[in-house]
Symmetry: C2
Subunit: 316 residues, 2 copies
């Protein structure tokens, strides 16, 4: 299988990083919501600066009918927009592979409800900042982890081919026969770092791992992560990495490479911009799993309700 034509749906920072890089070796189309976003991409191409440095030509539109038929579709929207993205390609492109790259759990199921494509699950640790609609700055060049979404019958071979495609344009990849251990590791990491950051208005700083004084935030992070690990254990998932160590390492990197580390977790960026967060797909999905499995998770429940209420504060 070859991937000469890829379509990226959603061109936030992760979608732009995917489209910009893949545009170096494939014909890349981009499906966006705003006509002016499409116009700017068509006029200027997509510039990537930072860890990579080039500009790729892309074809952008707000309507999939205006785009070439893709062999690979990467849904790179926020989790709560996956439904809309999948609906836009519902019934189309029966020969394509669809890849999801959201935080949290459950977006593969949303996609599967719209078509019988083989689905590739992924979680990414790379990060970037959108400087404009046609320019993304590539900050953390850490790996994207990919695996087959088994319920859709995806072969591991397909995942390896997509992994090879990403590596051919300089992106770091880890291909796994079962993504769940990695997905859950990142879920538990995100489900603690993001809400705590959004609620305290603090970027992901050293305090998140400090446990000296009783009031230190590291205690809360540790307790939250312990709850998440108990849920994972009850779900039969053996974690790929200890989320507490991911937390400690990330704040350590942040303190030594201030310019390079993406300090502001996406949920804090959302709150600061007055946007709704992805809480239902991140901490919310962990709370739902805890309920389903009968695991006590009082802190996770409490923080979930706080962020939900904060989201609702925009309606008040």
């Amino acid at each position: 299988m070859s991937f000469d034509r890829a379509c990226v749906i959603g061109a936030g920072s992760i979608g732009s990083l995917c489209a910009g890089h893949l545009g170096q070796v494939a014909e890349v189309s981009v499906l966006v919501r705003r006509p002016e976003h499409a116009a700017e991409l068509n006029a200027n191409g997509l510039r990537v600066s930072g860890k990579s440095d080039f500009t790729s030509r892309v074809t952008a539109a707000t309507d999939p009918d205006e785009l070439p038929v893709p062999e690979l579709i990467i849904i790179a929207t926020k989790a709560m927009q996956v439904e809309e993205a999948a609906a836009a390609i519902s019934g189309r492109y029966p020969d394509a592979i669809v890849m999801t790259i959201q935080n949290g759990l459950g977006t593969e199921d949303v996609v599967a409800a719209h078509g019988s494509w083989p689905i590739v699950s992924s979680v990414t640790f790379m990060s970037g900042t959108k400087e404009s609609d046609s320019h993304v700055h590539y900050e953390l060049d850490t790996a994207t982890w990919m695996g087959p979404f088994h319920a859709s019958g995806t072969s591991f071979e397909t995942v390896k081919e997509i992994g090879a495609l990403f590596e051919s344009v300089g992106l770091k990849v880890e291909v796994l026969p079962d993504l769940r251990p990695a997905q859950w590791s990142k879920l538990i990491f995100n489900a603690s770092v993001n809400p705590v950051s959004a609620l305290t208005d603090l970027p992901h700083v050293q305090l998140f791992a400090r446990r000296d004084r009783d009031s230190d935030l590291g205690h809360l992070m540790f307790d939250l992560i312990e709850e998440g690990k108990r849920v994972a254990a009850a779900a039969g998932v053996e974690l790929f990495e200890d989320p507490w160590e991911m937390n400690s390492r990330a704040v350590q990197q942040g303190s030594t490479h201030d310019d390079e580390y993406a300090h502001v977790p996406s949920m804090l960026a959302d709150v600061r911009a007055g946007r709704r967060t992805e809480i239902d797909f991140i901490l919310g999905s962990l709370v739902r799993e805890a309920h389903r499995l009968g695991v006590a998770a009082p802190l996770s429940e409490g923080l979930y309700r706080l962020v939900k209420a904060r989201d609702r504060s925009y309606d008040e």
Copy 2:
């Protein structure tokens, strides 16, 4: 005992309400931190609008040496400024009574370390908004509860006299031989409403009592209050009022008398203004009691650490 000369330390909204009202029947002095605040009070007096309507002459200064010797001292600062306020009168006025009127627990002990005055404990449910340094708008004309701080040997008779003084100027008072049941009721109420409001950026609205959907904030409020009630029970305190009912009633009042109800809890006002909160004296004092008594209070601990971290965000 008579109270011809009263001194109010701290002229935020509660201090201004006390000074303005007492100025109708007594010679009132006000000790403040900012010279321009003192100058404005000396020039214009203290105007009270809303539920009361008058202007009282007061004598204000930043140095107690410039004020007459008081018979009654009301420390009406925020909890974390009580230390500074008590230090300012340390060793002075041996014949005076000192009254505290902070949220939370423990400010009486801070005062007692600075002198052997009989101390009157109080908690207040009245509220107001400072329109300027010399004008306070009286919003909620609910009662102030007063009782003897027994460790300082205060007689109940003294408390009744101060209660009568407050009532003589139209303030509502409940005098109690033991304030702890009322103080703890308000502590648990405040220790839930204030942090949840500060963290969600929501005023004290109906959502705080709603428990329909799993994500509703009422569940968190209920669980937090249950923790507080377990701590009170372990401390041997029988509550004066159920804090969950206080919460439900307050949001109910808020929805029917929008103009009159003080929607924005003080901790949310602090966070919005970028000021440090009183968290250590409110939820913090409950967490310390939980630790001392060996009561599990994971949600209280978690929210305490979130607000502490939010306070620290001003340093980052």
